[in-house]
Symmetry: C2
């Protein structure tokens, strides 16, 4: 597999190997994995990497971020929308498709630098006719309402007529291949011909009646001339088909271009959707496919300049790291502050496109350091939904603002109370009832975002209000234990969901305490620095001195369980009394094997963990713990964590490096970096593990590059790279400046300022002005 | 393959081998052929033999006779309607389908006696789970609004949950696999849950807005108890899905039954469709699947008693003959006189479900002799459309009634003026402009129907009116050639469409002359026997004596081309001057090979024919030609006919026997009998060749059994069977009596009267009273 195998059209466009993710063989049972890996997103919408001609095994989803619907499901989920991918080529009624012909050549390639999907297939039909098809597909980030496909088609040993169908498919439903869960979230409101050529499908979500339009036009060219004949638009129920035919000559290439546009009622009144899309397509045709693709690539070129991580001496891993960055930055939206980044990005349907604590703790650091505008949007998303969080707290009998465990468009709790088992029985799901630490994550996210970006405007005008309301929530959530004279959070679940619920989960209690403490000092500093902002905040929140006094007490008397007389932090009250099962075996990938003890016992009866919990706390609050404490706790919990969540390995990697467990750190990084590329959890079909993509970035930057912020906020760089790495380079945005950080093989860092004012930083232990 | 391979459920139900048509192997590329062969019809509707679980190659059409629509096509065609076949079984999300599993056993069987489709498949999924599925499907002829499927499902090596989807699929379009021609003839008007369980889809045709409803309900049983759990109705656009699950135990059979009902606005007001279907399904469930199936089988038992042909000593051919009779009699409708029998029955979309001359000349004799009520309906169909035929004549500048070459529901010409070539170019189609002999066929059909059935009521009250108007058409169609003092029909096409148009096609001229002559004598006899009927006729038609005098002249002076000084009839004026190419080679099936001369010449420049033309005339008007003339013309044209139409072999077979060309006759019969079973024309995928099914019956009865009617109408039986046949038995309805005719190996016929009054007949040359 290499670019060389492609014809000139694509060969010249493809970037060098370190930017390419290949599929070199077609196996139907791998379709769903590749659909996730090869999904394309421009922040506005995401479309899975399905084949244009359709395959039997497929989940051909297209999502526009923010377009949610509930209908018969238990929660508002991203609605799959009309899919415009379909292009079918026929020769004498035979479909020239990957599953309908003999495959003589096959490759697909995700070009991460150019952010497009390329393909080359040579197919032989049942009559012996061979057709070469190369193709390119992109969703523009230059204009997020434009997307397209270009196919280069060459009849290798025949002349004749190729019939083309260009399809907008409105029949696709969520849970397409799961009979019990299938649901259609939209209904069709229009299936029309565009005034010029092309077809148009409009649907609306069933609950909110939010309209979404999709228009397409197909053209064919040879020698620069339009050659599509006998064009015809057909409306087949929920499918719209534009038909045309092309006279082809043996050995002579023709081009088929599909110009697509989508808008929703969120950007455009419903009555104007059709005409807006019509004009957009006309404009697109006028601009030209190449020109739009170039503009799109230019946007990505700029994004990569800041986002790329270059590792010298570990090419395969480097490519995998890029893959994670590619999907994460592609999904982030720098223009819309009403959408978040779902747990599967826009690449799959699991978790309904909901935002979790994953956003703040795994993804936000990346955006804050590299795409601060996107990070700000994610913060504003939470601010827009503050009232919903207030209502959520009220509904649950608390004060302040309780952010929902799962958040969609309206901020109401989207973690379902009930779930259906595969056998059809419903069971009560208690996650939303017990798992409250997301509210701490939102608070921590604001703190961390501001610490990185110094966006004091946001902090004063919005962040402080959120922090005040979340502190208020925690104060109301805590119970005073008179006997022990301490505040407790009982009946709660921490990040480790295998112990649900528990009393006094250390992670939760600690972050609640932190929230209360932080907001108290923040209030003081706002009052000092910006009296007007302070007055507005007090007015908005109705905060009283009695209340803050109470918070102070709660904060001071918060119970933080630990093993007396040791440095060991206790995951929750009573954890150390559980069966002390440890991990003793590792598989061929050096991955922990589930202890035999779990065959007879449930995990909740043992100390075995699903994921980082105490270790996560040490990661977030590292400055508050001494080195020895971190080391001992890492070692203790590392022996007891099975990484049942994709959120675990990257955190263990970062923390492993902190405590000198270097080889494990590298192993964890590989695990995290390849989790989807090698389908290591077996569920990549459901979409890319979003939190993990951010975790990979954190592992490199915070772990191996040793990037941190000191107590006083100063940037600190202290690399600790694997021996194999000869170098590491990446960029960060820090206090208005763009810095390029390079580490060499001997772990010496160099920092160059590329733009902005001079800044101070501690590099390899020495404070320097850059 | 035999009934023995089936479990008790089906083994006991299947009839003996001579009634069974088997498919013993699954090959996707044969799907479309088997869909035609295994189509089921009850006269009201027809559904192709697609697989319940769906396959990639499929034309899953369902038609209700009479439901036509034009939309973007060139003609009103039978609209494919929502298909209720879909039943999908899943185990842990894996579809237990023929194309999704390894096939361990496969067979399907059409039981012609019971008129149901059986199947047995044993499938192994990717997890190694084996499932045995036996099934039975029928469309009731006892109550044409009931149809159903029963599956017997046994998990052979696993226990667990089987998820079931029962589907009504409203997405199916006409020309499903032909991109250029695809068309959707309906739009959805309802997708609803039935008040009890079950789902309901209603569509309307786009042009007439005729509503059609389809309702389904699924149940599952074990040990006689209902066991379907977690039932759910989902509406996915134009699909309606009833979901349920079944807990299954290894080795234990469960039954899944789908109860279906369909009605159209033709039988039921649109507003009542939903409730009517709901009640029908409730009634069906109450009656029970077995009971309804038994009632259906009883109807077929009665039909077969009269319709079966038993040939001793030629089992394979006998089964093929039954196959033709099965499809023909299944499609005939004894209850509805507004529908006809299309050129592909209700088994495929070619020719749009239109009635041609095929009905009168190929199929009507069968119905007249065996199902006189159905024959009468076919006659009434033409009478209902007499006004349309009058308008058609007027539109074309003629008088009287000109029946359309292709007839759908409204009697307007449905043979398109324009057709699209595969390359998208439109070409002018002149068939309807030139091919007028269908009007003679309608006239001849009446004559023949009445001759057989003695239905004088029909003749006097309706038939005579049609005959008068068709005679009037012919009189106006003829041109007087002053020079030759003769009447001519110029610019016309006969049955042989390879010569189009010609002047004075003998077949057409002869039948036009016959029509004029017959109506003149008919008028005289009506006047004599039924003055009242005569007066009404004259009033309705405005017939004058001047007109009949003119007809007499036309009839007497009609030009009938022939070779002077010989017995040779000339197919059309100038035919004998064409290049005298003859057939010299025969292929391995003893079938004529296209002469090399046609490589450089078009058939129209030669004497090579597509199909019986003069020979057809001799067949219809045999009584008017002496034996020598028939013999010589048969021999002449047999050497020049390529049988490019399925309408040709059977007629050559009958006529071959008449002239003593016995071996060819048998060869033609085999060709006709197996034309679809062996897909000999390569287009069985498009549907069963309807005219040919009637032709097969005629070949046996008129050919080998030598059944005819003398000039005076008396039944004549004079067998002339192949040596291999040891016996032949069949029944005819003759002048109120049911006769059983048996021929033995020495060609001696025996006729027994089973019911009705004594009749006279000429048996083996001797007139006897039976």
């Amino acid at each position: 597999m290499s670019r060389e195998m492609f014809s000139g059209n694509l060969r010249n466009r493809l970037h060098s190997d370190e930017w390419l993710i290949w599929q070199d063989q077609y196996e139907a049972k791998e379709n769903l994995k590749y659909e996730s890996l090869f999904a394309l997103s421009n922040g506005y919408l995401g479309i899975r990497g399905s084949h244009e001609e359709g395959t039997k095994i497929t989940l051909p989803y297209l999502y526009i971020n923010g377009v949610f619907d509930k209908s018969e499901t238990f929660m508002r989920e991203l609605s799959t929308l009309p899919n415009w991918l379909g292009i079918r080529l026929y020769v004498e009624k035979e479909l020239i498709g990957i599953e309908d012909c003999e495959i003589l050549e096959f490759s697909r390639v995700l070009d991460m630098k150019g952010a497009f999907l390329g393909k080359r297939v040579r197919l032989k039909d049942s009559k012996g006719r061979e057709t070469l098809i190369e193709g390119i597909r992109f969703v523009s980030r230059n204009n997020v309402h434009r997307m397209g496909i270009r196919l280069y088609v060459t009849p290798l040993n025949y002349s004749g007529i190729i019939e083309v169908e260009s399809i907008i498919d409105g029949t696709i439903i969520n849970f397409y291949d799961a009979p019990r869960f299938k649901v259609k979230h939209t209904y069709m409101t229009a299936n029309e011909k565009l005034a010029a050529d092309g077809c148009y499908v409009e649907v609306a979500t069933r609950e909110n009646h939010l309209h979404v339009g999709c228009g397409c036009r197909i053209e064919a060219y040879a020698d620069g001339k339009q050659i599509l004949g006998n064009r015809m638009i057909s409306r087949f129920g929920e499918q719209s088909v534009e038909f045309g035919d092309i006279h082809v000559e043996e050995g002579k290439e023709v081009e088929i271009v599909k110009y697509v546009s989508m808008y929703t009622e969120r950007e455009c009144p419903a009555y104007a959707l059709h005409t807006t899309i019509e004009k957009e397509i006309e404009g697109f045709v006028e601009t030209g496919f190449d020109q739009e693709l170039k503009a799109h690539e230019d946007v990505y070129k700029n994004m990569w300049e800041n986002a790329d991580i270059q590792i010298t001496g570990d090419d395969e891993l480097n490519r995998a790291v890029r893959f994670n960055i590619f999907h994460l930055m592609s999904t982030g939206n720098e223009h819309d502050d009403h959408v978040n980044v779902g747990a599967k990005l826009l690449t799959g349907e699991e978790y309904g496109g909901h935002a979790f604590w994953d956003t703040e703790l795994f993804m936000l650091p990346f955006f804050s350091w590299v795409f601060p505008k996107t990070a700000q949007n994610l913060e504003n998303y939470r601010y827009h939904l503050l009232d919903a969080a207030r209502a959520n707290a009220h509904k649950n009998g608390y004060k302040g603002a309780q952010y929902p465990w799962e958040s969609a468009d309206d901020g109401t709790e989207q973690c379902p109370d009930w779930t259906i088992e595969p056998d059809g029985t419903c069971y009560r799901c208690y996650v939303a009832v017990y798992e409250h630490h997301v509210t701490a994550a939102v608070a921590y996210g604001i703190y961390n975002y501001v610490k990185i970006t110094q966006d004091m405007d946001f902090l004063y005008s919005k962040g402080a209000e959120i922090l005040t309301e979340t502190a208020r929530f925690w104060a109301s959530r805590c119970e005073y234990n008179k006997e022990q004279d301490r505040y407790e959070i009982n009946q709660v679940t921490g990040p480790d969901e295998w112990h649900e619920p528990v009393n006094n989960n250390l992670y939760t209690n600690y972050l609640a305490r932190w929230n209360l403490g932080y907001v108290l000092s923040l209030l003081a500093s706002i009052k000092k620095e910006n009296q007007e902002a302070y007055d507005i905040l007090i007015e908005k929140t109705g905060l009283t001195e009695a209340e803050t006094a109470h918070w102070k007490e709660v904060q001071e008397k918060m119970y933080l369980p630990r093993k007396e007389g040791t440095r060991l932090l206790e995951q929750f009250e009573g954890y150390f009394e559980l069966d002390n099962v440890t991990i003793e075996k590792y598989d061929e990938n050096d991955w922990p094997v589930r202890p035999d003890a779990l065959k007879t016992k449930r995990a909740r009866e043992t100390q075995i963990n699903k994921q980082a919990d105490v270790v996560m706390l040490l990661h977030l609050m590292g400055n508050e713990f001494d080195e020895e404490t971190i080391k001992e706790n890492y070692a203790y919990y590392e022996k007891r964590t099975l990484h049942g969540s994709s959120l675990s390995p990257s955190i263990f990697s970062v923390m492993g490096l902190k405590v000198g467990d270097d080889s494990k750190a590298y192993r964890y990084l590989r695990r995290a970096a390849f989790i989807d590329l090698l389908n290591m959890q077996g569920n990549t079909r459901e979409g890319i593990h979003a939190a993990n993509t951010g975790g990979v970035w954190q592992t490199i930057v915070f772990g191996f590059a040793g990037v941190a912020q000191r107590e006083d906020g100063m940037l600190k760089v202290h690399p600790n790279m694997p021996k194999e790495w000869q170098g590491l380079t990446f960029r960060l945005h820090y206090r208005g400046a763009w810095l390029e950080i390079t580490a060499d093989g001997s772990n010496q860092a160099k920092v160059i300022r590329l733009a902005g004012e001079p800044v101070e930083a501690e590099i390899n232990g020495k404070v320097t002005t850059i």
